[in-house]
Subunit: 404 residues, 2 copies
């Protein structure tokens, strides 16, 4: 049984966090450096962007947690430390400065950066910020959460309590992600902490499986960032018997992890750059799961469909069009489409052809802030869900001049 | 030698055209039905959308020109006649009504429709419009061009004179295409006419090869339409010896065809929905041509890059990012990027890392209406060009409520 609780990434025993303004960003009221620390060393797992252009921090993190261990996470916003000649050096220096301040091993640090690409990252503000960052460590999930935000308009954090072998465990996460978000990679920065005892191998397995159904099914704009990762630290302080293989305990952990990641997916999609609406595309009746995923992603990624949703326009032809070019094995003459929100459900297409519907009812349903697009393919049992958002004037505005 | 001439699709001998307002669109000042007619029956070739959801007119056209022959082209705008229960019937009825009026065989008609998907197309306005459409046939490429436009803001027509075996030949084209335009299919409606004598087989070969470098390299919004096609009619009235195999004459024809199609590509991209800028991405130094194409398309399709160009923001990190997720074999540490317009050239990235540049100069270059993005991969001889446009507020506006 899962129970939502307070505390974000500090809900799990033994984890503290903090966030400060160190000066990477000009805006002094915005925290730009975040820290997560676990007293007890944790097992660690991560997934990374599949972009060939990878941020220097990812390379350093990958090396650092190759042994499945981590002690702290440090992340700056305002600069991605990517496509810089000295990126690796800066990321490693960040780790060593933090390690010194915390008296831990520099290779036990997960380091991440997010922000603009291709501008040298100065180590000075980070070096100056670390003492206050470490000194202020406490139950401050919200400060860390703010520290990793870029164009996000809302903080994204969540925590749950669950039970493994009779022991109460806790898991929590924070996320940032708004633009440059697309399936097929760890599509944003997400840090998850848990006090559940789980081996590094099983933790990586759980995470790698989870992202297939969570973060890899979110798209804001079809762009895939150079810097994104999802990492999980598990410090075992809950005192359960360590999970080392599949079974009931592993399943309980996976469910708790999925609760965190899927909550964050919805928050990330709904807070997509410029978004006014969360779009959730639910496909069923596909030949298989892969087909369902392909179709769901194609619809959620269509600029035309996204713009129609912004205008609360029930232009279901664009849904059909996106299904048609998805590159999936679909019989378009069997496709049913409906729109749903808290205002009700509206069938708009049956067997690939339009059916009469009330435009007034359509406007009412599509004017809500969370819209479901229900697609039935009539071809099997495969199903999938993908999350996205509408395409708005503000998306263009935000991205027309991001650097200044 | 190619010479640009006047006349559009009526530049080739024996071709006449017309366009009328028949009433599919409410706006009475907009022609919505177009006709192209050749006195002498023509050889015909076409390529079609690869979307699984195909407009009914495409199915009918494909059958009609299976024998490599056509006599006329009819196309309406305002309704795509797609995802309708009686689409085939309406498309066939359109052919038979036109054939009757022109005293030709209904199976010698190329029929096309463009506009909103999933709304029944009434035959009445078409039936009522055909007499005036046929009666007014003349040197009216411009009328036909207007008749096929949807959200296009500018007509797109061109013609060239060229020589085959010493005989002067003529080739011209009209196009419509503004949104829902993406590589990997015949991505818009394009009608090309020529008086050059060429066999149906060689005509199809020339067209199929041509689109790989022309229309399949254009993207406005990543969406691929259900209705688009490119068709060419060649009536042989120039009197050259029919081209039936490869050789000097075939090459001359291909060059003339490419001049028409590449002109129309630039016009279509530059007139993309809401566009203020034509973007031309030129990739060289790729491992092979396929790699170059993949990279060029990825950059031209990136929403983030497109929005940056709208804002005249030299955010080259987004170019690198799009190269990185293109799924191509590229060494990102060898990539050079520059921006170019009539105001000059600006190098912004060398060997995958940023180099200092004047933001003032960047703004000046990127404020022009035609921008080239020059990418050098340092990995071979492969090269490619792709065309696109910026992402603007108006794209969102146009597509937020297209149906009303």
């Amino acid at each position: 049984m899962l129970k939502e609780i307070q505390g974000g990434i500090c809900a799990a025993k033994g984890f503290t966090a903090n966030g400060v303004h160190c000066g990477i960003r000009k805006n002094k009221t915005k925290r730009d450096l975040a820290l997560i620390y676990t007293k007890t060393p944790a097992t660690a797992a991560a997934v990374y962007t599949q972009n060939l252009v990878k941020g220097a921090p990812l390379t350093v993190t990958k090396n650092n947690i190759a042994n499945g261990k981590a002690h702290a996470v440090i992340c700056n916003s305002g600069n991605a430390n990517t496509c810089n000649a000295n990126g690796i050096e800066i990321a490693e220096k960040t780790c060593s400065l933090l390690a010194q301040a915390l008296s831990i091993d520099p290779t036990d640090v997960v380091v991440a950066s997010t922000g603009v690409i291709g501008q040298p990252l100065d180590i000075t503000p980070i070096a100056n910020g670390i003492p206050a960052l470490v000194k202020g460590l406490g139950i401050h999930s919200d400060y860390a959460c703010e520290g990793i935000m870029t164009t996000d308009t809302k903080p994204k954090e969540i925590a749950f309590e669950f039970s493994v072998g009779g022991k109460p465990c806790h898991i929590g996460g924070i996320a940032k992600g708004s633009g440059m978000i697309h399936p097929n990679m760890a599509t944003m920065l997400v840090f998850v902490t848990t006090d559940c005892a789980i081996s590094a191998k099983m933790l990586q397995k759980a995470l790698s499986e989870d992202v297939k159904h969570s973060f890899n099914m979110v798209s804001v704009d079809g762009d895939t960032s150079t810097n994104d990762m999802v990492s999980v630290l598990a410090n075992g302080e809950a005192g359960n018997e360590e999970i080392v293989c599949e079974g009931e305990e592993y399943t309980a952990f996976c469910e708790a992890l999925a609760a965190v990641t899927q909550y964050l997916c919805r928050k990330i999609a709904g807070d997509g750059e410029g978004a006014t609406k969360l779009l959730e595309c639910k496909v069923r009746g596909a030949k298989d799961e892969t087909t369902a995923k392909t179709v769901a992603k194609s619809v959620i990624c269509s600029s035309l469909f996204k713009a129609a949703m912004f205008g609360a326009d029930a232009n279901w032809g664009r849904v059909l069009c996106a299904i048609g070019y998805a590159g999936a094995d679909v019989d378009v003459n069997k496709v049913d489409v409906a729109f749903r929100s808290v205002k009700g459900t509206l069938e708009v297409c049956q067997n690939g052809a339009g059916i009469p519907f009330s435009e007034e009812k359509a406007k009412e349903i599509l004017s809500e802030s969370e819209i479901e697009v229900l697609i039935t393919l009539g071809n099997g049992d495969g199903k999938a869900v993908a999350w996205g958002c509408d395409l708005t004037y503000d998306y263009v505005k935000i991205n027309g001049d991001y650097r200044t």
